[in-house]
């Protein structure tokens, strides 16, 4: 009965539960934490893209007053010094070889940061520079220097067990997938188009740099306060590294100053924990923003796509050959490649498909997860090429897409979840809002693009909901608050089920000693998976309330409902404190509810069925300064198919941020390497979008059909808004100027050159 009641809290733009602590400066991030006796660490990094590390002498540094420990890779004999989620190919500190410029080679812990920094100068490293590969072309050339020569150790995720490096090459993993007969289909198509597109390496720049604080206690247990999106994955890494049972490692996650994927899987935690062990003190490692450029980046890519269409616009086949540059260590790069490539055909019905993708090691900063997880690189290619196809067939790009969109309930791939949204609605709204069918100003161009993305599968989320004696509620879940608003959303879900105000609900921050298992805060999964676990846990509490009240009131449980913090029946109401007092015979005790979401493995191509499909469309209106080549996005509309917006205010904010982050790699951002040397690895040199780069009109809307598998019909969002941005902008530019660019970002220089090459019109 309560399930049919209109929603009270879910769907409302309630203010964030952490807003006041954040505007008053009280919100705590890792680097705001202080422990007694805490030491401060600094990292010495390799100046070479590739070098043999013949000897590291830390003696002088270690002898400096104020220095507590100075470590190199060779010192780490008392632990397993390798980590990594896909392959354990990454040493905590370089061992024998440094594989990219900026790789940690030694570290110092000292009484303060300055002492630690100064001690780095006293470390002598004998490097023998080796030939490096810093581009895909170099890495894939016959006889190329190898980034890794040995067989890496398998990572610790069972679902990644299929990942394999190709010995004797720089190919760290190859993913192939096919359906139908793509070659024959393309041979029989009326129009076949082929082109190659490039996506740059870009930096997340979460404003809070990576940081960790680690302390071992007298019982040999380790606690790490970490700015991580995956406390439970970090725990596994540290347990392996130190040979300690999972239960003796505790990962506590305070607020994160942004993540965007940069804080998935272990980053600084292994080194910080090793230093804490070596010094016998709590150790804090607070990296700089410049060091983030040496920690992780988006995997850059070169993508060749062939599309075949019939004269009437029907897509008949797609082939895609994608090479992703995953940098010097695998991190989660192989899975980025696999998952990104899996949806290379986008949200379209394509009967014949052949996909072949490689993750390629280079001597550059490791590539990892970044909002979109491999999909932006491929959507850039496919969505650009679809506009070319529309042009060649004399078709409207929106109509051509509409004709080929997968429908609600249709199969994407055998064994995987059927399509669970109506992307035609998103595309329609986006086109309408940008005024697609109306004549625009002559100096403006419009473009559209769409996206489809799978979430991580199989995956697990567990949650506990506690109803306290005063009727207040605690939600225990390990979804990490990194700005997206998950604490607020989880509190709303519990508040909805238990009929209390959001203010009566506390979302407890992740702490692996307290909050139960959650696989990861990424892949747009928290609202759907963790949210569903919280909903189930709250429903468990509700059933317990019903049982106690039913017995006490002598009415069947099905005649009961929850309202305003009480169990209500026709005969009367019992406020929660009364129900608990009845249950426990005193004013104490609590009701504990549990929720587990664990869909398990399936026959889907990647081993698990996506819990939802993330789908969105974008429409851009651009202008260009023909003198300078500067592109300006004047208006942008994003429409995401979200099932239900649990909190429209937060969702809108997240999608606005996604669009602007997408504008970053579309117009501005690229980590520029020259022979393995990163030329712009600071915020002074690397330009991210500012307020004045944002389109004058930026609108983020949603399609809500309550058709998601998450609570109240919700499904994941937050990545979808970013993905269509580049192709939508480039398509708009092409329609305005006739110039088609294949390499991102669309810098003034590139655009100007292309305009020049086109000639004046």
């Amino acid at each position: 009965m309560s399930r049919r009641a209109p929603l009270r809290v879910v769907g409302q733009p309630v203010p964030r539960v952490d807003a006041v602590e954040k505007v008053t400066g009280r919100a705590r991030y890792v680097t705001d934490l202080v422990l007694p006796g805490m030491a401060h660490a600094k990292i010495l990094r390799s100046p070479y893209a590739h070098a043999r590390v013949r000897r590291v002498d830390t003696a002088r540094a270690g002898a400096r007053p104020g220095v507590i420990a100075a470590l190199s890779g060779a010192d780490l004999t008392w632990c397993d010094p390798y980590f990594g989620p896909a392959f354990r190919d990454r040493p905590v500190l370089a061992i024998d070889v440094a594989r990219y410029e900026g790789e940690p080679v030694a570290a110092v812990a000292a009484v303060d940061e300055l002492t630690a920094a100064e001690a780095l100068d006293l470390i002598d490293v004998d490097y023998e520079p080796l030939p490096a590969v810093s581009t895909l072309e170099e890495a894939l050339a016959p006889g190329a220097p190898l980034v890794h020569t040995g067989e890496p150790l398998a990572g610790h995720f069972a679902d990644l067990a299929t990942l394999r490096p190709q010995p004797g090459t720089n190919v760290c993993h190859r993913f192939q997938w096919a359906r139908g007969e793509a070659a024959a289909a393309l041979a029989g198509a009326d129009l076949v188009l082929e082109d190659t597109f490039r996506f740059p390496p870009v930096q997340h720049y979460a404003m809070e740099p990576h940081a960790a604080l680690a302390a071992w206690d007298e019982t040999g247990a380790l606690t790490v306060w970490a700015g991580t999106q995956n406390p439970y994955s970090v725990r596994v890494e540290l347990a392996k590294m130190f040979g300690v049972p999972l239960g003796r490692i505790r990962i506590v996650v305070p607020h994160l100053g942004g993540g965007f994927g940069s804080k998935t899987y272990a980053k600084l935690e292994p080194l910080t924990a090793a230093l804490a062990r070596a010094t016998g003190r709590p150790v804090r490692l607070a990296a700089s923003a410049a060091e983030a450029f040496q920690t992780v980046r988006r995997c850059s890519a070169r993508v060749s796509v062939r599309v075949g269409l019939r004269r009437d616009g029907t897509l008949v086949g797609v082939t895609c050959d994608a090479d992703y540059d995953v940098g010097a260590y695998a991190d989660i790069g192989p899975r980025v490649v696999q998952k990104g490539t899996y949806t290379a055909t986008g949200p379209y019905r394509v009967p014949h498909v052949a996909l072949d993708a490689r993750a390629v090691y280079t001597n550059t900063t490791p590539g990892g997860a970044f909002r979109g997880f491999g999909v932006p690189q491929l959507a850039w290619a496919l969505e650009s090429l679809l506009d070319v196809a529309a042009d060649r067939l004399g078709r409207d790009p929106v109509d051509l897409r509409r004709q080929n969109l997968l429908a609600h309930g249709e199969e994407f791939a055998p064994g995987d979840t059927p399509i669970d949204g109506k992307l035609e609605e998103s595309l329609g709204h986006a086109a309408q809002a940008i005024g697609w069918t109306q004549t625009g100003a002559a100096d403006r161009g419009r473009g559209v693009a769409a996206m489809l993305k799978a979430s991580v599968a199989p995956s697990v989320s567990e949650a506990i909901v506690r109803l306290h004696a005063d009727g207040s509620v605690a939600v225990l879940a390990s979804a990490v608050e990194m700005g997206q608003g998950t604490r607020t959303v989880l509190a709303q879900i519990a508040a909805e089920v238990l009929a209390v105000p959001v203010a009566r609900v506390t979302a407890v921050p992740p702490d692996t000693a307290i909050t139960p298992y959650d696989q990861t805060t990424s892949s747009s999964r928290s609202t759907t998976m963790t949210g569903r676990a919280v909903q189930m846990a709250a429903e468990d509490v509700r059933e317990q309330l019903f049982r106690v009240a039913a017995e006490h009131l002598g009415v069947p449980a099905r005649e009961l409902a929850l309202a305003d913090g009480a169990v209500v029946a026709a005969a009367g109401r019992l406020a929660y404190p009364e129900v608990l007092a009845i249950r426990f015979g005193m004013s104490g005790g609590e009701l504990i509810g549990r929720g587990v979401v664990a869909p398990g493995r399936t026959a889907a191509p990647l081993g698990g069925s996506t819990p939802f499909w993330e789908m969105a469309a974008g429409a851009a209106e651009v202008s260009v300064d023909e003198e300078t080549g500067a592109v300006r996005v004047e208006r942008y509309v994003s429409v995401a198919d979200v099932g239900r917006a649990v909190n429209p205010l937060l969702l809108e904010g997240q999608d606005e941020g996604g669009v602007v982050q997408g504008l970053g790699h579309t117009l501005l951002e690229e980590m520029v390497y020259e022979e393995g040397h990163l030329l712009n690895g600071t915020l002074l040199a690397y330009r991210v979008p500012r307020a004045d780069d944002v389109p004058r009109a930026l609108e983020c809307r949603f399609v809500e059909n309550a058709d998601g598998s998450g609570p109240f019909g919700a499904k994941g969002a937050g990545e979808g808004s970013l993905i269509p941005v580049s192709p939508a902008v480039a398509n708009a530019l092409a329609r305005l100027t006739g110039v088609r660019l294949r390499d991102l970002p669309l810098t003034p220089e590139r655009v100007w050159r292309a305009l020049r090459a086109r000639g004046s019109r």
Partner: protein, 169 residues
């Protein structure tokens, strides 16, 4: 630490409270605030005067505390995010940020709030263009800025309304 780096006495008024400190000549205002005075609101991000996360007001002017020497602040009055609210009631700028949904991860927020405060002190009725210009030294990677700009304009309007009757009286 070199013995030559003798500490220098400085006198600050931080959030209305007088503070006498001894700091190294090279100590940055950001570190003094965060470590010596335990005011953790101002954040360190770019460390190079680009992002604005460390912004505090020194005699009413917005400065990047990450590149501002503490000794330069001697004798001056400093406002940090911790000093914005009056007791339990939020400053109108804080209120506007909460209401507009202009806060996500919150890492840029303290700097944004103080930048806004400085802007509105200087220009109580800014246009959207004024706001965009003023925010050139304030980065946010989460929000896409739209709600921040809305919050600033709303705070200006609220302030205008609050001060208008005062002028009439």
């Amino acid at each position: 630490m070199d013995a030559s780096a003798a500490r220098e006495p400085i006198h600050l008024v931080v959030n209305g409270r007088a503070r006498d400190l001894a700091v190294e000549p090279y100590a940055l205002l950001l570190d003094v605030l965060r470590d010596d005075l335990d005011l953790k609101g101002a954040k360190r991000s770019c460390d190079s005067q680009v992002c604005g996360a460390c912004t505090v007001l020194v005699d009413g002017l917005a400065v990047s505390a990450c590149t501002y020497l503490a000794v330069e602040a001697d004798g001056r009055s400093i406002l940090t995010v911790e000093g914005l609210a009056e007791g339990e009631s939020l400053h109108p700028v804080q209120r506007a940020f909460v209401d507009a949904g202009a806060v996500q991860c919150g890492f840029c927020t303290p700097g944004m709030l103080l930048t806004t405060r400085a802007l509105l002190d200087e220009n109580p009725a800014p246009t959207r263009e004024d706001v965009l210009h003023y925010l050139r030294g304030s980065l946010c990677r989460c929000t896409g800025y739209r709600k921040i700009v809305e919050a600033i304009l709303a705070a200006a309007r609220a302030r205008g309304q609050a001060s208008a009757p005062a002028r009439v009286e």
